[in-house]
């Protein structure tokens, strides 16, 4: 493999050591090395138990390792929360080659956990990839890193070169019969490529557009028409620890349905924003936003107005849902999703229509242009909302937002319950007329914003001056 010839340190100079991670007195599965300033180097990695998980895995039969991951119920951390071990089992047997694609195209608004994982501990990710390839019988790994993440790209590239040189990647890894190559691929900056089939299209050199479904899963027919496993960066980063400590230790953390920890990125109006590794399933939103070990409360001790529980596409929650834990089976029925682990907090000073417009603009801009409803509808929504925010919208415009939304997502739209407004929760997910979730995502935040804070939108509408019309009585002679 050729030496990577990019300028290694330029990005590192531009971006000082990645900040944003907030350590705490909690179990650390994926962030154990983050406290070291040189956490991304091979020396530090090896000094802190690096590649021990891979050694452990290689000592065991591949099916054994697969079983271990299965019994640990490592949930996918990309958004859908599908158990990784089960996903690996979906590939057809006796087909060669099968591929692993690492989805490092983290671009959901508010999410920046994978970036830190790649910047601060690239070797952990590489080790995770190798374990996954070994366990699931995958012969090549493609690491797709989002185009804008310059530092992550450099750190992973350097780490990969180190790993190749040290014999952790390539032919006969650690003297075993197991060989796998890891290929780096840098995105060109498209949100939709975070969708796994669009990512595969992009990897193949095509325009990043979601693929037709069926086939519903790349596990059957993915990259270059071969069975392909697409895993999130964080999912794979869990594997080294799991291999070293075993599935029992893993499931001892968190709940039965959501074991382990998960990375959560909090931003917005909180005192102490950042990325936290929290215990899955038991930590609540209230802990996270108000807990002293986490965000430490709302900025200026203002009141909480609303928060986004799982990335820009998720319907919003209010204070009513603060006590929900990080547990998909509870957040879904409450009307939203955990998604990519991004929480955006809005305090009482927030201009809700403007905040909604920011998100709607993002999704209109990031539509790939394939499906009509997303391409045309997203921009239409943005234009109507812009009018409303600028104070020139009318009551009909507000109604029109729902009409356009219904063209993208026909049927009941998920929203959180709100006792004050008398709203009942409509469970997630939604019906949609598009191929992927980008289309509904343009409407989801907007819908919940209007549902929960309708008065704020109405306050922006053009006030109609009504002229009283007096009925003129018709002379009876005319009627006769």
């Amino acid at each position: 493999m050729d030496e990577w010839k990019g300028s290694v340190m330029t990005a590192a100079i531009r971006y000082p050591h990645a900040t944003g991670f907030v350590a705490g007195d909690r179990p650390k599965i994926v962030t154990s090395r983050f406290e070291h300033a040189d956490s991304f180097t091979l020396e530090r990695f090896l000094a802190t138990g690096g590649y021990a998980g891979l050694r452990k895995a290689l000592e065991r039969a591949a099916t054994d390792v697969h079983e271990e991951v299965k019994s640990a119920t490592v949930l996918g951390r990309g958004g859908a929360g599908f158990p990784a071990g089960t996903k690996w089992g979906l590939t057809p047997q006796q087909v060669f080659p099968k591929y692993l694609v690492v989805n490092g195209d983290e671009s959901e608004p508010g999410t920046y956990k994978d970036r830190l994982l790649m910047e601060c501990d690239p070797h952990q990710l590489i080790e995770g990839c190798l374990i996954a390839c070994y366990a699931a019988g995958l012969s090549q790994c493609f690491l797709y890193i989002r185009g804008e993440m310059a530092l992550a790209q450099e750190r992973v590239a350097v780490a990969l070169n180190e790993a190749y040189a040290a014999g952790y990647v390539g032919k006969n890894i650690l003297g075993s019969k197991f060989s796998v190559d890891i290929v780096l691929h840098w995105g060109a900056g498209a949100y939709v490529v975070g969708e796994e089939t669009a990512l595969i299209e992009s990897l193949e050199g095509n325009r990043g557009m979601p693929r037709l479904k069926p086939p519903f899963f790349p596990a059957a027919n993915g990259l270059y028409g071969q069975p392909t496993i697409v895993n999130n960066v964080e999912t794979l980063a869990n594997l080294p620890w799991l291999m070293v400590n075993g599935s029992e230790a893993y499931t001892a953390i968190g709940t039965k349905t959501s074991p382990g920890t998960r990375m959560v990125a909090v931003s917005g109006h909180v005192k102490n924003p950042g990325v936290f590794e929290i215990i899955n399933g038991t930590t609540t939103f209230r802990d996270l936003i108000y807990g002293a070990e986490f965000c430490g409360g709302i900025l200026n001790d203002n009141e909480l107005k609303a928060f986004v529980p799982g990335g820009g596409s998720a319907p919003w929650f209010t204070a009513d849902q603060l006590d929900l834990p990080f547990e998909a089976s509870q957040v879904g029925p409450a009307g939203s999703m955990l998604g990519s682990g991004a929480i955006m907090v809005m305090d009482s000073t927030t201009d809700i229509p403007a905040a909604a417009l920011t998100l709607t603009h993002f999704y209109a801009h990031e539509s790939c242009g394939k499906c009509t409803p997303c391409r045309e509808g997203g921009t239409w929504l943005e234009r109507i909302l812009t009018r409303i925010v600028n104070g020139t919208g009318t009551e009909a415009d507000l109604q029109q937002i729902f009409e356009v939304g219904a063209m993208i997502c026909p049927g009941d739209f998920p929203n959180a319950s709100n006792e004050k407004l008398g709203l009942a929760a409509v469970p997630f997910p939604y019906k949609m007329t598009t191929i992927c979730f980008v289309g509904p995502s343009a409407f989801a935040p907007l819908h919940s914003a209007i549902t929960l804070f309708r008065s704020e939108f109405e306050a922006r509408l053009v006030k109609r001056i009504s002229i009283p019309v007096t009925a003129v009585s018709t002379p009876s002679a005319v009627l006769a």
Binding site: K213, P214, A364, H365, E366, T372, R375, T433
Partner: protein, 794 residues
Amino acid sequence: MTTLDSSDTTPEVVVDPNAVSVTINGKVVAARKGEMIIAAADRTDDFIPRFCYHPRMEPVGMCRQCLVEVVGPRGPMMVVSCMTPVADGQVVNTATEGVKKAQEGMLELLLANHPLDCPVCDKGGECPLQDQAFSHGPGESRFVEEKRHYEKPIAISENVYLDRERCILCDRCTRFADEVAGDALISFTSRGNNTQVMTFPDEPFSSYFSGNTVQICPVGALTAKPYRFKARPWDIEHVESTCTTCSVGCRTVVQSSRDELVRYQGVDSQPVNWGWLCDKGRFNFESINSKDRLTTPLIKDASGNLSATSWSVAIDSAARMVRTALLSSPQSVAIIGGARGTNEDAFAWAQLANALGVDSRDSQLADGLPPQVFSLPQATIADIDTAKTIILLAPDLKEELPVLYLRVRRAAEKRTGRVVEVSPRATGLAGKAWKKVHVEPGKTAAALRALSTDAAFTAQLASGSVVVIVGRMNLAESEESVVYALAEVLHMAPHATVLPVLRRANVRGAITAGLTPRNGGKSTAEILEAAAAGKIECLVLLGADPLSDVPDADLARRGISGARNIIAIDTFITQSSALADIVLPAAAYGEKEGTTTNIEGRISNVAQSITPVGTSRPDWMIAVELGAATSHDLGFASYNEVHAAMISGVSEFASAVDTHAVEHDGVIVAHPTPITLTRADGASIERNSYDYRAVVSRKLYDNAIGTAKSPSLATLGVASAIIVNPLDVPRIGAQVGESVRVTSPRGTIVMPLQESVDVLRGTAWLPINLGGSDVRELLDVTKDVIDLKIEKMS
């Protein structure tokens, strides 16, 4: 489409394992596994609106217009019917309130940014967006914002214009270019609401098939220069016909307005063209409307110039010439041509020749194959779809028979069959070939014989049906060498069927109708040689132009100047007809009725759409009149009579009695008793290592009269050049682009040197009949191969 109903006459009901039954709007529909819901619904009366779906392309699910409800275990689910396969017992509803709302919504969204400039749009009146907005749309739009704006039409190729404001981004044109044509020269650029179809920078959409994108565009975004603003759909008269530009015989709709041809559109004929046409066939209607068409008979006056005359004078003079010639001997009269007309034209002329006792008649211009190839077991075009092996012993299909190329390309692309390319150079299908046998001219048969020891190759041949596409891959190589090569293939694969590809439109029909040498009559080359020796008193050129088509310039020149009298029947003044004593104007394609026979022997109709220009007449009528003037009653006097006489007189044409079939997908001619070919001794012709062996073939856009007289096509051709392998360039010593002197035993010409890796070392490719130096000056039809010397100009 396979019929799934078991007919009452069949006693045994064969259960199709792939048959499923779905319920669409309460009606049970028989379908096949893997079929999409929309395709099954198309067999019912219920129309599902669609824009991106096209039955001849992979579904893409882009426009989302074809949403329907499928009743599943968790209640009705909204799915796109173009991407959802049928399943047994599936219940589909296409007209519920929910579906209606979704479809109306989709149309409202599609129309949101559509400019609605229908009054000035070529598509208005035949526009799927317009039609479906009426049938399935919401009626009015709530979109009050400003629409998207782009520069109004931009030319993306010489003939295709793109209006991005009208485009609804259905992916049909881009999919066609990539998937069907293999010329992925247009693609989407930008994102979201700014997504647009665009070419790559500085690379026009110069595909031979670009016109198809205009036809399948569901809005007026793509328009073709030859048709822009020519007519409105409601002013157009349509007749279904068969394209006679080449011998594939694509089904077309010929459209005329105010007695002028305005457009050809492809018709989806399952056995032939699937709706596709090449640009040459699609746009060469312009030549029919050309101002240069012959409108009146011409006769050579005392000063030797052609001047206009009346039909009676012209026919009388022609009859006198024929009679005078016959007085010396029937062998002194000869007919060259007939492949450009209809079967009826060829039949009438063959009957006239019979009546006059003329045996020297040939519809091939020394560039064809012996008619015996029609007596081998024949393949049809559709056999390509099911063949396990397709052997190309043929000219570059992309250049000479473009729509056949699409079919073979698809077989390779879909991996239904493997393509073996036997050719002196890489053709348009080389990239799709499973095996490439690139061999220099003169050694083809020997190379094929050597292949019989290739285990993988013989196993492939044995794995299933084999179709051999056979034609003249090199005009500088004798037709015998093709026959010998074919004999080798048939020896290795006795079960193979043969698809002879003679490129001139109706050459198969003309040969079948009798325009081929009989009773020891002469072939074209022999006729010209005899004429050069002063033995031809009267030469009839039936739509033939030996001076530009016979691949031997010297022979053609000597023959034409040596013939004592020449009667030319033509649509234009060509190089040869300019030298004729009498020129009779012939009615052209679209101006006459008839039938034509394509490469596979499929008889289908050509229809009259407009009145013949001037006083021009169909060829068969000229034969009848010349017969009457020479006291021979041919027994027919109207089109219906000549057609009936042909069906009863030529046994191969008997199946054409089925008029309905002839006017649609056509009928296959009856095959004569099969023959077998004898193999030659297999000796290959060695080449002096200082020489280059000539490979001469045609390009799609050449100096053919139909192209040259169509303004939209005339500029697309390239100038002639000699193309060699890049590794041979240093040996020649000249720079690429520099003029070199090319010498053959026949003559010397000067032309630019070019290089291409498609050309074998030691060979030189010379595309024929282009502007610039005439390659035919180098050729000699009597030689098996032509070796060239290439020298740097001092």
